[in-house]
Symmetry: C2
Subunit: 353 residues, 2 copies
């Protein structure tokens, strides 16, 4: 593997001195980019992209060709693990991810097995290897998965949900059965992220998209505890290099102290949290990633720079901050506004280092 | 007006001793009740119900006939004020509230006027008077409105939104124009709630459904500041009686200290917050209302009682707690599970008083 040319992202995660605040963007390879849409059209579908290492490599690199981002993130989906378990992931037009065979009864949950990533998720590992080669050390590559609880939400609901009625009925009525499902998911996510690390991922991120829909006690018991098990099972180092981990619970601002205690290198913040307050709460223990409101990118560039400055100033002086949005970039975002964001982060952050 | 027979709700809001924890349920008059659906069918539509004082009185009283609830809440909608401003509220089947004439440009915003509630909202005030008469002092009647920012969301988006792109584009690009809109809304909500109080509402609640979608600083500037202006303008007393106010920001758990400082009697909590932690943060300054996860009501009654006990125990000993869900009751809830909830709150809370 080529030596890393820009290691700002990894250094910021380790809270070591950096010349500027590194930035990458959740969903940076995505529908707001015309070149992504062109590749997707050639691939025929989202899954046609994600399951083909050539296409996955192509779209992973597209935003890096446009913007001086400080990290690449594997192009994939948070739901590859339940797909590998046989649930049949598909995307209905305009409806988000769905499963052909959601978990509808106890027998379906009891029959789940932990997939062997080198078999059923080989296409992801091949993509990781190919992307690492194509990056040639330009920036580090981030691997990722959905959190055990977030996977369970989709597996039980069969897709997205406004109220999470089915998974919460399971949670409140049959907690031991949900714990069984989460145990399987935690084992599967751990093996999957470790396989990504072995294939070349230089950092990993756990996306807990739906943990924030839970009451405080349930979040700790059903989401955070299983992310803790995943983090504890990850390769801390691989081939002599530390492998940082980032845990992101959307809507988790209430629980930052608890999240910071599970052993990950960094905590992702959504846009509702003041990053300065987050730093005073947990900044001595972890690095912070975030947290500009993605909707800021619909303002003119001077307003974008102003909001970027607010986030940078709220974090304050020193390392330990990886700039990002507080959620994925909207498909309607003008690409030139993403350019303005990256430029603003790089230029305005220098005075803080 | 008849003397109040059950004043437990008002006493709990004043943090005075009560024999048990009072309970009411957001959207307690609603689609989970067959008798509500029957009345709605007769009325022809949701707005046909809400705009007819006879029907509004009928459905307001329906849950009280079934369950020993400790308060009634006016049957109405949070969006009556912008409807009275001429935006044309309507409900598309299965899509939630929409406006025929959303605010699409600066001229539309500049031309808005504060409606006179005794003219364009007379149907609401008539309903309040009629409901007070029909209640005959059984329990207090709560009036309500959407918050200035939540109204603005619907007025600018034209309906619900996944990302609030239009209102946030206004917020980040033209903050002074959004402030103008919010100023109008705050004046209108204040006049409207005062008119409800004058018509007989014995407490008022401000529903800030969408303030929680904002970054910390924007929440304070664009949502909380305007609720503070509303609260400051409310009749603190009417006809010799104190009129308590409740402010509820869904997703506002991060900001409880700030919310508790705006002068309302009580703060509503969604289900993500631990109510014991909320009490230690702000319980010396305000009463708390909440906060059971509405999805608990899809479990069997013993599980419901167990989760009710968790909330009651987390709040702990003494007055100052009005039990409620952390969000509106789901239309799919079995009514007998609501009965189990009310029974559990009344019986299990006695040991805390």
């Amino acid at each position: 593997m080529a030596a890393l040319i820009n290691d700002t992202f990894l250094r910021a995660l380790r809270r070591e001195p950096v010349p500027y605040t590194p930035v990458w963007i959740m969903r940076q390879a995505g529908r707001y980019l015309p070149e992504y849409n062109a590749t997707r059209k050639r691939a025929g579908s989202f899954l046609g992209l994600a399951k083909n290492p050539d296409y996955a490599t192509e779209v992973t690199l597209q935003p890096l060709a446009r913007f001086p981002l400080d990290a690449a993130i594997l192009f994939s989906d948070i739901l590859t693990v339940p797909d590998a378990m046989g649930l049949g992931l598909y995307f209905a037009e305009g409806e988000g991810p769905k499963f052909e065979r959601p978990l509808r009864d106890e027998a379906a949950i009891r029959s789940l097995r932990v997939p062997e990533p080198r078999e059923s998720l080989a296409y992801v590992l091949d993509a990781v290897k190919q992307i690492r080669g194509a990056l040639a050390g330009k920036v580090p590559l981030i691997g990722f998965s959905g959190s055990p609880y977030t996977l369970a939400c989709y597996m039980v609901e069969g897709g997205g949900s406004d109220d999470f009625r089915q998974i919460k009925t399971l949670l409140y009525s049959r907690p031991e059965l949900l714990h069984h499902l989460l145990d399987i998911n935690a084992q599967a996510v751990t093996a999957y992220l470790n396989a990504q690390i072995e294939a070349g991922a230089q950092a990993v991120m756990i996306f807990d998209t739906w943990g924030g829909s839970l009451p405080d006690a349930a979040y700790r018991e059903f989401s955070l505890a299983y992310m803790q098990r995943v983090v504890a099972g990850l390769h801390a180092r691989w081939q002599g290099e530390a492998v940082p981990s980032i845990v992101f619970t959307k809507g988790g601002g209430l629980w930052l102290e608890a999240i910071a205690a599970i052993g990950s290198t960094a905590v992702g913040l959504d846009w509702t949290v003041d990053i300065g307050e987050a730093r005073s709460r947990i900044g001595e223990r972890v690095a912070l990633q975030g947290n500009l409101d993605p909707m800021v990118l619909f303002s003119p560039p001077p307003a974008i720079a102003g909001q970027v400055a607010r986030v940078l100033d709220a974090y304050g002086h020193g390392s330990g901050h990886v700039f990002n949005l507080g959620h994925g970039v909207s498909q309607f975002t003008p690409p030139e506004h993403v350019a303005a964001l990256v430029e603003a982060v790089h230029s305005l952050s220098r005075r803080h280092h």
